[in-house]
């Protein structure tokens, strides 16, 4: 799991650090801001699921095809994927380091992009082409 064993010298060496010194504050703030926005997303999701669970395509197009619903939902979904990627980074940073961390981070990024693109594409289709 870990590339390097932590030695006494390494801990004493001020040129080594846990995690990403330059970006970690930004990651922290990103997680707070996107997390706050996700509360809005959850209320939106509740409304949509309650309104549309088990319904036919016609109903889905009527509700999600409304640009005032479909487009904000698409934007919120993108924010969710940012929060997902950032949160998974937090977990990966704790348990992995070095090249394995970078590989898992790449997979993490790809998964989040996939979710965002698939979700936004579906919503844009519903809004603009029915």
């Amino acid at each position: 799991m870990r590339d390097t064993i932590i030695t006494r010298d390494m801990v004493a060496n001020p040129k080594t650090a846990y995690g990403n010194k330059k970006a970690s504050t930004r990651h922290f703030i990103t997680q707070r801001v996107t997390g706050a926005i996700n509360i809005v997303f959850l209320l939106f999701l509740l409304f949509i699921v309650v309104r549309l669970a088990g319904q036919d395509r016609v109903d889905m197009v009527t509700v999600l095809g409304n640009a005032w619903i479909g487009l904000p939902l698409a934007a919120l979904l993108v924010v969710v994927t940012i929060h997902m990627r950032n949160g998974m980074r937090d977990t990966l940073e704790d348990y992995f380091a070095g090249s394995l961390y970078r590989l898992l981070m790449l997979l993490n990024t790809l998964f989040c992009i996939l979710v965002a693109v698939a979700g936004v594409a579906a919503l844009l289709k519903l809004v603009f082409w029915g």
Binding site: I6, R32, I39, L42, V50, L64, T81, A97, A122, L126
Partner: protein, 128 residues
């Protein structure tokens, strides 16, 4: 700058379980569950966009007892993670960090998530 791998301690096996520790672990676990759960939402949206037949298949799966079980768990996971996030916002203002307050917030997180989940399902699913 060399990045050290973080120290891992066998805390789960050694320390007595506390509610704050359990809710911290639950916050991470629900976060990972929500990470995977977005696929359910995207599949539903994608099926709706592609056509009625695809939507029928998804509705059948999500409407089955197993699908409902997963969606119930997903609801709890989302609500628990949201309340956990709000707890972190409270802590960010240096409120609720004293002994006793921490435990109260952690219990509130757990009980609140169960109550809200049951409330949502009772009002919108079981009584609807």
């Amino acid at each position: 700058m060399t990045v050290r791998s973080r120290p891992l301690s066998p805390h789960l096996q050694i320390y007595r379980w506390t509610i704050t520790m359990a809710m911290s672990i639950a916050h991470r676990a629900t976060g990972i569950a929500n990470y995977a759960g977005t696929v359910l939402l995207v599949i539903w949206l994608g099926a709706a966009a592609s056509g009625q037949e695809a939507l029928n298949v998804v509705n059948d799966i999500y409407g089955s007892w197993f699908g409902q079980l997963v969606l119930f768990g997903y609801t709890w996971s989302l609500i628990h993670h949201m309340l956990g996030g709000i707890r972190h916002f409270i802590w960010d203002f240096i409120i609720g960090m004293e002994p006793g307050q921490r435990e109260a917030l952690a219990w509130a997180n757990l009980i609140g998530s169960i109550v809200l989940t049951l409330l949502v399902w009772t009002i919108f699913v079981w009584m609807a």
